[in-house]
């Protein structure tokens, strides 16, 4: 394994980003990936190889719900939706993340 790419996500943050994205409304996997990419102004790129396992894991854990529906282009697509538990998990994660970010920032400033 080589050096991680710049655009790769820090371990564990993908879940949080997916949950955050789903607060905008139900979305399919491709839409989530695109949404994260755009919101991060193309800095973060979501690999399908991590996205789908993460989605299925969170579905099993009950953080998100899935439903099959029609996509914009009339294809059968799986839409993910935030559950109450997912919302709570997102709040926890976000809080934790902000603490971490602030702490890192402080260290970087003083050093």
């Amino acid at each position: 394994m080589g050096k991680p790419d710049r655009g790769e996500l820090v371990q564990g943050t993908l879940d949080m980003l997916v949950l955050k994205t789903l607060t905008l409304g139900p979305m399919h996997g491709w839409g989530i990936a695109q949404s994260i990419q755009q919101a991060s102004e193309e800095v973060l790129r979501v690999e399908e190889g991590s996205l789908y396992p993460a989605l299925h894991r969170m579905e099993l854990d009950g953080l998100i719900d899935a439903e099959w529906g029609q996509s914009e282009n009339k294809r059968r697509a799986k839409y993910y939706r935030l559950t109450a538990r997912g919302r709570k998990a997102l709040a926890d994660e976000a809080h934790h993340w902000q603490q971490l970010a602030r702490a890192i920032a402080r260290v970087m400033e003083t050093a």
């Binding site: 695109q34 579905e59 697509a77």
Partner: protein, 856 residues
């Protein structure tokens, strides 16, 4: 919806999951293409990863193991069937015994926390009290003073005669209990009302509460029974209620009556009470003991050595409570049988393991972990034991059915039912799994340890190795050791049974008919009316053809005695001795009726005053080396009178305690004439078979009093057989267990020796080729097998001596370390062992050296 359910659903809709995953990936790809490409990872790999998330990975591996195990077990049907049958017997017998014991010891008496209820018994200190001293356990006094026991209650338990228009008069058990006793009883009457304060008033209409079983049996479940009158000991009682089925507190009884204030003023009644109560919160038995003993001591106001009152758990009064050690011993014994079964099955599997070395080696070689191999093999053995457990369940159902039927014929507490319950099933499941692991572990570890390289090269022969043979030998030794314990236990019991049956009787039980009659005190209130009734009965019976002698006795042989407080004149020049005296009340015809010899002197006269007969043991105890004739003793009478009685004769010892055939209990025989008892046995010697006189005896009683039932009309032979049966029942069960154990251990030994012979065919061939005689070969094989038998015996002997101590309670005239019994055990085991070795050894000597050498 939780994870598990989601996964389960995914498992069910497996195909759907696959399609959905494929669709999801396809959609993503399509979107990618539509929006100007972008690369996509390995779609199949992503799908695979996602699918794994939905799967029960570990569960599926287990499933694989189970299917594989099924295939393996089917591949060797003979071994599988043998193992299942052996396990079914072992597990079935264990579950049966466990369920019987746990049901018998449940004490479900519908009383909350029965284990905190205590009963008050007279203590040893009483023996020193002068005859005629007031009864020390004074209910009323205790009730007002004792703090450590709440709810101090008392009851009187006795047989009563029930008569009414419904059926023939019947002898029933009755409990007369104080209201404080009723306060402990949980269930309410299923019909009618509870006893209330109005029933305890001295002028109350006599009331009775009947048990469910009496209600069904005698009154056919009559829903209108409440309010009707039934005659109890010739007094009309109004039925106030029916208790629900199974309610039998504080004794196994048919009916209950209240204690009235009038009863409490009667000292005779107070004396007959059994006092009990629930320990106050935080109080211990020893605290209650010291408080109650102290209170009682102050009331007696005499110096007494030893406790006058003993506070003991209420449960101790229940018959099975005494038999606990025996019951637990039974659970152990049958557990040993299962261990022997396990060792047998382990040996079977070890034998098969040798044949499977190659298969396992290959699995290890292509990368199966050893833990996985052990797991696989354990799954196999647990499945085997599960099958055995299922078959064992059927065995246990049959066993329990048999036992329940059998014991229902005897008199057993009504809360005890022997049927499969949840606890029994849990136990069954537990021992099945434990047995599977136990017998599977040795072969599994053995196989997992094999050296793959040599095993594959060796063609699966060499790998059995000395360790496997040693293990098999150890297992056989272990079986033999367990066998020794069981054989010793059953041997002791058999020995004790033999002693019991062979003990010489000092009387002639053949051609004696006995019958019990209880006169209700309400109708036969004084000694004269009782005496009058029995005089008429005796002359009526004596007039029957075939009756040669009719007598009355308070107890029959082997049925115990009555206890008296009394005083015995000491030997020459010594002070007299006060204390408890045991004895019977009989009329002089009792001695010829039993045909028991008078060793010295003669019986008391028919109407003689102040005379008494003692038995040999009594004379030897109190007047050693002196002539007992003319010595004196006296008994505390009901009304305080205690004239001196003169010994007229010394009777040969008659066995009164069924557990002590060598009867050395000092007993006195008091003349019936002086102390007429309302409950007696009629003992009649006959010239014709006693069975022919049963009906005439019954009729004779009915003719004199139509409300009076004749009970237990039995020949003395039958009566003695019944008494002995209770003592020998456990011995029979142990003997069955020991026989099964011996057969199973023998099979184990035989299999191991036979296996060794067949493995050593080549070696035997060489030995014979170089000049070994058949005798040498025979000796070699037998010697090797007998090593395990002897090792097992040596290991089992000290254990057996230790374990059988627990049985001493149930042994008659045999010490737990009886050398003759152990000699017998050694003999049985030795013969079985020699047979187990000799049969395969005979095969060994028939080996044709040439054929053996070509064996490879």
């Amino acid at each position: 919806m939780n994870k598990f359910v989601k996964r389960l659903r995914a498992l069910w809709h497996r195909r759907e999951l696959d399609r959905d995953l494929a669709d999801e990936m396809a959609f993503h790809l399509a979107m990618n293409e539509q929006n100007g490409g972008g690369r996509f990872g390995n779609a199949t790999a992503i799908q695979e990863t996602c699918r794994d998330l939905w799967a029960f990975t570990s569960l599926e591996a287990w499933w694989q193991d189970i299917r594989f195990a099924l295939r393996t077990l089917r591949a060797s049907p003979l071994i599988t069937a043998t193992a299942i049958v052996a396990l079914a017997l072992g597990i079935g017998a264990n579950t049966t015994v466990f369920t019987i014991v746990s049901s018998a010891l449940r004490f479900d008496m519908a009383v909350d926390h029965i284990e905190r209820v205590v009963a008050l018994h007279p203590g040893e200190g009483l023996a020193n009290l002068a005859p005629g001293a007031p009864t020390p356990i004074d209910f009323l006094n205790l009730r007002s003073q004792v703090k450590t026991v709440r709810n101090l209650a008392a009851y009187h338990f006795s047989a009563v005669n029930v008569s009414d228009g419904h059926a023939l008069p019947e002898r029933c058990w009755g409990v007369q209990m104080t209201a404080s006793g009723w306060a402990m009883v949980r269930p309410k009457p299923q019909l009618g009302r509870e006893f209330g304060p109005q029933d305890e008033r001295p002028d109350a209409t006599p009331a009775v509460m009947i048990s469910h079983r009496l209600w069904e049996r005698r009154y056919g479940g009559d829903p209108a029974i409440v309010g009707k009158f039934i005659r109890i000991d010739d007094v009309d009682h109004a039925v106030v209620g029916v208790m629900p089925a199974g309610e039998q507190f504080p004794e196994d009884t048919d009916l209950w009556t209240p204690v009235t204030l009038k009863d409490l003023g009667n000292p005779d009644f107070l004396r007959s009470l059994l006092i009990f109560g629930r320990l106050a919160d935080g109080a211990t038995i020893s605290a209650a003991q010291s408080e109650i003993d102290g209170v009682t001591r102050r009331a007696i106001a005499q110096n007494v050595n030893g406790p006058v009152v003993n506070v003991r758990p209420f449960l101790e009064m229940i018959g099975v409570y005494d038999a606990r050690a025996m019951l637990y011993a039974m659970v152990f014994a049958v557990g040993f049988v299962l261990l022997i079964v396990c060792a047998d099955v382990a040996n079977l599997l070890l034998g098969r393991a040798a044949a499977r070395v190659r298969e396992i080696s290959i699995r290890i070689a292509i990368g199966a972990g050893r833990v996985r191999i052990v797991r696989q093999l354990l799954v196999e053995s647990v499945m085997l034991s599960a099958a055995g457990g299922f078959a064992g369940w059927l065995v246990a159902l049959a066993g329990l059915h048999w036992f329940d039927n059998m014991s229902a014929q005897g008199r057993r507490p009504s809360w005890i039912h022997f049927s499969m319950d949840t606890r029994g099933l849990l136990y069954l499941a537990g021992i099945s799994i434990a047995a599977g692991i136990l017998f599977g572990l040795a072969p599994a570890l053995q196989l997992a340890k094999i050296d793959v390289n040599s095993a594959i090269k060796d063609g699966g022969r060499g790998a059995e190795g000395p360790r496997g043979r040693k293990l098999a030998g150890l297992l056989v030794g272990f079986q033999m050791a367990l066998c020794v314990i069981l054989l010793a236990a059953s041997g002791l019991m058999i020995h004790s049974t033999v002693k019991l049956y062979n003990a010489p009787l000092s009387f002639q039980p053949a051609n004696v008919l006995t019958m019990r009659v209880d006169l209700p005190e309400t109708k036969y209130a004084n000694g004269d009316s009782v005496r009058g009734f029995y005089n008429r009965l005796e002359s009526e019976l004596a007039g029957l053809p075939g009756v040669t002698e009719v007598s009355l006795a308070s107890e029959l042989p082997m049925r115990g005695w009555r206890e008296f407080r009394g005083e015995v004149e000491g030997p020459q020049g010594k002070p007299s001795i006060t204390g408890e005296l045991d004895g019977l009340v009989v009329d002089p015809a009792y001695f010829p009726a039993l045909a028991v010899r008078m060793r010295q002197g003669r019986a008391f006269d028919e109407n003689g005053q102040s005379q008494v007969v003692v038995n040999e043991s009594f004379a030897a105890k109190f007047w050693p080396g002196e002539n007992p004739i003319g010595k004196r003793l006296r008994i505390a009478g009901r009304n305080g009178s205690q004239p001196w009685l003169t010994v007229t004769g010394v009777l040969a010892d008659v066995q009164q305690d069924v557990m002590r055939p060598l009867g050395s209990d000092p007993l006195i025989y008091l003349p019936y004439h002086q102390d007429p008892q309302s409950s007696v046995y009629v003992v009649a010697r006959t010239a014709i078979p006693p069975a022919n006189l049963v009906e005439p005896f019954r009729r004779a009683v009915q003719n004199l009093d139509e409300n009076l039932p004749a009970q237990d009309v039995l020949s003395l032979d039958d009566h003695i057989a019944q008494q002995r049966l209770n003592v020998t029942a456990f011995g029979k069960l142990f003997t069955i267990f020991a026989a099964i154990a011996l057969v199973l251990a023998w099979v184990g030994l035989y299999a191991v020796v036979a296996h060794a012979v067949s493995r050593r065919t080549q070696e035997i061939g060489i030995r014979m080729a170089v000049g070994g005689t058949r005798r040498d070969i025979f000796r070699l094989v037998v010697k090797q097998g007998m090593r395990q038998v002897l090792g097992g015996f040596a290991a089992g002997l000290p254990l057996a001596i230790l374990v059988t101590r627990g049985l001493s309670h149930g042994l008659v005239g045999v010490s737990p370390s009886d050398p003759a019994t152990y000699l017998g055990v050694a003999l049985v085991l030795g013969i079985a062992g020699l047979l187990g070795c000799a049969i395969p050894a005979r095969r060994a000597i028939r080996v044709d050296p040439l054929a053996a050498l070509r064996h490879e």
